[in-house]
Symmetry: C2
Subunit: 317 residues, 2 copies
């Protein structure tokens, strides 16, 4: 394998939860995303040669970096611990932004490493390896970002079968306006502020809306999708950490969004829209509302829901 | 309208919840069911001339009988309070059996009354009138039996839009084994024993499974349907009121059922099966397990999920 060429993979930004489906639904944008290049090295083990675009904030020790941990998992999965891999990471996504940045790095790493090693791991194995990088403090994994980053489209994951990704239909045109304010919220802290129990009356409403969203996607029923996009779980507790949340939500809805909510655990907010054109209008309205709330210069991203997830990209010459 | 002929409607047994979808999913059998005949009378208001098949236990005062209340609601909905209707009820379903008996009576009554009066009420109005008969002690309605009894098939209802019935696909062959032990559980009491809160970790699993069931129905994916049929809400609290519950569930699953659980709030238990033939085997196994637990002679009913809900039937000459 000494003349093996470097491999480079891209994995997109993702939106976890999709408002009503806390911990179970996720979708992939076309861009932006993270890229990881993998190269063989003579010494066994995984090293990170560089991380770009993180302002120097991410650890470059492989065992403490999600892309590194995911790459180590690929070697373990393939029983190739005697092989050495060097990875280089280009962050296109913000850290702790709620845009699935750590999932994108982990997924790009496993896809690049799998291609480098020609291991042709199953998608279940790729998911498992990428999830290693994202374990929470209790060892739990929440593949609602990993799964769409890997597979693209809109997917469902279930806690009882974390390796199984269930694809959902994507109605033609369905687009995302993603707005990232210059704030950071730590995912694990954001999990901690949620109550451990949910009133049964609210839980019933939540599974009614999750189920209705699935029907809406199958039937391409925009109105049902709109009516199902209600978050009774995270939004009531997390939205107060985001200055202007209500104003941004209102602005997005008034600009025509089907629904507006937290992207993952925030602080990014996103809107689902019927077309990319609508999503551009919505994104501007949301960014403007952030500015009026004192958060200037929020980044906006508009993309159709992308049926292509992570994929190989050319290695620059 | 003095020469108007009597009208008679049938409404089928229904299974509420469908294991994973507490308060939101329901399905209709082809039979058994209740029938209601409506006739004009000269005096305004609603009277019940007779109720058959209830062992004399149901009230015959219209305002205290679900079929009577539903008929009164039809007159109010149509602004025809000066018209008089006499109804006669044939109970084919047990009282407090978990087979949607009161929903069937209410639905048969509104369908018969609507036909008698030629009011051609919308399905939303029929649902609303039938639901009047089924209000709980807090004035809440749970149309997860009313909706399938009226529309047939498998349907979803959402607490936030109680008048909206969302039909779900029925995979070819999908059948029900319904087993009614000679026990009675009062629906409202069975609601009272449920905790008011659900751990978030369990709630997440429940909306994952509700959503997965919808996907399974759309994709006719028997294995996904099977894996989604888990009840973390009612079964842990209600099953202990049903002697032999665990043995009956195990017997049904071992006989090939996709899932076994409480029908509504019980005591009837039901199984979802891939074919009517399978459902017959499963029903026998479940009844036998009830007998071994000391509950002899449980009634069994086997039916494909019926896409026809309530419908007019011939008035016997």
């Amino acid at each position: 394998m000494s003349d093996t060429q470097p491999t480079r993979a891209f994995a997109p930004a993702t939106v976890g939860n999709i408002i009503c489906g806390f911990d179970i639904f996720g979708l992939a944008l076309g861009e932006p995303g993270d890229e990881v290049e993998a190269r063989l090295r003579s010494e066994p083990g995984v090293v990170i040669s560089a991380v770009h675009g993180d302002g120097g904030r991410l650890p470059t020790e492989a065992a403490r970096n999600v892309a590194g941990v995911a790459t180590i998992a690929v070697l373990a999965e393939s029983d190739m611990q005697d092989v050495g891999i060097e990875i280089e990471v280009w962050k296109g996504l913000p850290i702790s932004g709620g845009m699935g940045g750590s999932a994108a790095s982990a997924v790009a790493a496993v896809v690049a490493a799998d291609a480098l090693l020609q291991t042709e791991l199953s998608s279940e194995a790729l998911l498992r390896c990428a999830s290693e990088g994202e374990r929470g403090p209790k060892g739990d994994t929440h593949p609602d970002n990993i799964a769409p980053a890997l597979h693209g489209g809109i997917v469902m994951v279930r806690p009882d079968e974390p390796g199984v990704v269930i694809p959902l239909p994507v109605p033609a045109g369905l687009s995302v306006a993603l707005v990232h304010p210059d704030l950071e919220l730590e995912t694990n802290e954001m999990r901690g502020i949620l109550p451990r129990e949910l009133p049964l009356t609210q839980a019933i409403r939540q599974w009614a809306d999750c189920s209705a969203l699935v029907v809406g996607l199958y039937e391409a029923d925009w109105d049902l999708i709109r009516r199902s996009l209600v978050d009774r779980v995270a939004e009531p507790h997390r939205s107060r950490f985001i200055p202007g949340f209500e104003a941004v939500k209102t602005a997005g809805l008034e600009a025509g969004a089907l629904g507006v909510g937290l992207s993952g655990s925030g602080p990014s907010m996103f809107a689902l829209c019927r077309t990319a054109t609508e999503a551009r209008t919505v994104a501007s309205a949301m960014a403007e509302a952030f500015a009026e709330a004192g958060i200037e210069g929020a980044d906006t991203h508009v993309s159709e829901v992308a049926n292509t997830g992570a994929h190989m990209v050319e290695t620059p010459a």
